[in-house]
Protein backbone atom coordinates (compact mmCIF):
# COMPACT_ATOMS: atom_id res chain seq x y z
CA UNK A 1 0.00 0.00 0.00
CA UNK A 2 1.43 3.38 -0.95
CA UNK A 3 1.75 6.02 1.73
CA UNK A 4 0.14 9.44 1.87
CA UNK A 5 2.01 12.20 -0.02
CA UNK A 6 3.70 13.76 3.00
CA UNK A 7 5.14 10.39 4.01
CA UNK A 8 6.37 9.78 0.48
CA UNK A 9 8.18 13.12 0.70
CA UNK A 10 9.67 12.13 4.06
CA UNK A 11 11.11 8.99 2.50
CA UNK A 12 13.11 10.98 -0.08
CA UNK A 13 14.90 13.21 2.45
CA UNK A 14 18.57 13.06 1.49
CA UNK A 15 17.75 12.32 -2.15
CA UNK A 16 17.72 14.60 -5.20
CA UNK A 17 14.34 15.95 -6.22
CA UNK A 18 13.02 18.57 -8.64
CA UNK A 19 10.56 21.11 -7.28
CA UNK A 20 8.48 22.69 -10.01
CA UNK A 21 6.89 26.01 -9.05
CA UNK A 22 3.67 27.56 -10.30
CA UNK A 23 5.69 30.12 -12.26
CA UNK A 24 7.43 27.28 -14.19
CA UNK A 25 10.80 27.76 -12.51
CA UNK A 26 12.34 24.51 -11.29
CA UNK A 27 14.75 23.85 -8.44
CA UNK A 28 16.74 20.65 -8.39
CA UNK A 29 18.62 19.75 -5.25
CA UNK A 30 19.03 17.43 -2.32
CA UNK A 31 16.01 17.55 0.00
CA UNK A 32 17.23 18.34 3.50
CA UNK A 33 13.95 19.04 5.28
CA UNK A 34 10.35 20.20 4.89
CA UNK A 35 7.51 21.24 7.21
CA UNK A 36 3.71 21.17 7.35
CA UNK A 37 3.47 24.01 4.78
CA UNK A 38 5.74 22.07 2.40
CA UNK A 39 8.39 24.77 2.87
CA UNK A 40 11.52 22.97 1.73
CA UNK A 41 15.25 23.23 2.32
CA UNK A 42 17.35 22.03 -0.63
CA UNK A 43 21.13 21.83 -0.70
CA UNK A 44 23.36 21.76 -3.82
CA UNK A 45 20.48 23.40 -5.65
CA UNK A 46 20.28 24.56 -9.24
CA UNK A 47 17.68 26.89 -10.70
CA UNK A 48 16.24 25.79 -14.04
CA UNK A 49 14.28 28.11 -16.32
CA UNK A 50 13.13 26.82 -19.74
CA UNK A 51 15.31 23.70 -19.32
CA UNK A 52 18.44 25.81 -18.85
CA UNK A 53 20.45 25.95 -15.66
CA UNK A 54 20.61 29.63 -14.71
CA UNK A 55 22.05 29.60 -11.18
CA UNK A 56 23.58 27.43 -8.47
CA UNK A 57 23.03 27.83 -4.74
CA UNK A 58 24.59 26.05 -1.76
CA UNK A 59 21.32 26.12 0.14
CA UNK A 60 17.85 27.40 -0.62
CA UNK A 61 14.61 27.76 1.27
CA UNK A 62 11.50 27.41 -0.93
CA UNK A 63 8.17 28.70 0.43
CA UNK A 64 5.69 25.83 0.13
CA UNK A 65 2.76 27.77 -1.35
CA UNK A 66 4.69 28.26 -4.61
CA UNK A 67 5.13 24.55 -5.26
CA UNK A 68 3.22 22.95 -8.15
CA UNK A 69 4.73 19.48 -7.95
CA UNK A 70 7.75 17.53 -6.75
CA UNK A 71 9.52 15.08 -9.04
CA UNK A 72 11.03 12.18 -7.11
CA UNK A 73 13.98 9.94 -7.87
CA UNK A 74 15.88 12.20 -10.23
CA UNK A 75 19.56 11.85 -11.15
CA UNK A 76 22.05 13.85 -9.14
CA UNK A 77 22.98 16.37 -11.82
Amino acid sequence: MSSIPINTLRKVIGQYIIIRLKDNVKYKGKLQSFDQYMNCHLSDAIEIIANEEVARYGNIFVRGNNILLVQLAVDEL
Binding site: L21, V25, F34, N59, F61, V62
Partner: protein
Protein backbone atom coordinates in the same frame (compact mmCIF):
# COMPACT_ATOMS: atom_id res chain seq x y z
CA UNK B 1 8.57 14.68 10.04
CA UNK B 2 12.27 15.24 9.97
CA UNK B 3 14.02 16.57 13.06
CA UNK B 4 15.50 19.45 11.09
CA UNK B 5 13.12 22.09 9.87
CA UNK B 6 13.57 24.19 6.73
CA UNK B 7 13.29 27.40 8.80
CA UNK B 8 16.57 26.41 10.50
CA UNK B 9 18.58 27.69 7.54
CA UNK B 10 16.90 31.08 7.90
CA UNK B 11 17.88 31.22 11.54
CA UNK B 12 21.47 30.50 10.53
CA UNK B 13 21.26 33.22 7.87
CA UNK B 14 20.41 36.03 10.31
CA UNK B 15 22.73 39.03 10.02
CA UNK B 16 23.93 37.65 6.68
CA UNK B 17 23.35 38.97 3.18
CA UNK B 18 20.70 36.78 1.56
CA UNK B 19 19.28 36.58 -1.95
CA UNK B 20 15.49 36.55 -2.18
CA UNK B 21 13.27 35.74 -5.15
CA UNK B 22 9.84 37.40 -4.98
CA UNK B 23 6.65 37.18 -6.98
CA UNK B 24 6.53 39.32 -10.10
CA UNK B 25 10.03 38.35 -11.25
CA UNK B 26 11.76 40.41 -8.58
CA UNK B 27 15.02 39.65 -6.85
CA UNK B 28 16.35 41.37 -3.76
CA UNK B 29 19.44 41.26 -1.65
CA UNK B 30 19.88 42.46 1.90
CA UNK B 31 20.99 41.64 5.40
CA UNK B 32 18.40 39.40 7.03
CA UNK B 33 17.57 40.83 10.44
CA UNK B 34 14.51 38.79 11.36
CA UNK B 35 11.60 36.73 10.02
CA UNK B 36 8.39 35.08 11.21
CA UNK B 37 6.32 32.02 10.34
CA UNK B 38 4.68 33.86 7.42
CA UNK B 39 8.15 34.58 6.00
CA UNK B 40 7.62 38.29 6.61
CA UNK B 41 11.21 39.51 6.50
CA UNK B 42 13.05 42.52 7.83
CA UNK B 43 16.08 43.44 5.77
CA UNK B 44 18.76 46.07 6.18
CA UNK B 45 20.69 47.63 3.29
CA UNK B 46 18.12 46.05 0.98
CA UNK B 47 18.51 46.44 -2.76
CA UNK B 48 16.37 45.33 -5.64
CA UNK B 49 18.35 43.57 -8.34
CA UNK B 50 16.98 44.95 -11.60
CA UNK B 51 18.31 44.61 -15.13
CA UNK B 52 19.53 48.23 -14.95
CA UNK B 53 21.51 47.42 -11.82
CA UNK B 54 20.89 47.40 -8.09
CA UNK B 55 18.41 49.91 -6.65
CA UNK B 56 19.11 50.76 -3.02
CA UNK B 57 16.07 50.64 -0.74
CA UNK B 58 17.55 50.90 2.74
CA UNK B 59 15.67 49.07 5.50
CA UNK B 60 12.55 47.22 4.41
CA UNK B 61 9.89 44.79 5.56
CA UNK B 62 8.84 42.25 2.94
CA UNK B 63 5.39 40.70 3.27
CA UNK B 64 5.79 36.94 3.47
CA UNK B 65 3.26 35.90 0.85
CA UNK B 66 5.47 37.39 -1.90
CA UNK B 67 8.45 35.23 -1.01
CA UNK B 68 9.31 32.38 -3.38
CA UNK B 69 12.87 31.46 -2.48
CA UNK B 70 15.59 32.56 -0.07
CA UNK B 71 19.25 31.65 -0.45
CA UNK B 72 21.79 32.32 2.29
CA UNK B 73 25.35 33.10 1.22
CA UNK B 74 27.71 30.16 0.66
CA UNK B 75 29.78 29.41 3.78
Amino acid sequence: MSVNKPMDILNQAREKRVLIRLRGNRRMRGILKNYDIHLNLTLEEAEEIASEGAIKLGDVIIRGDNVIMISPPPK
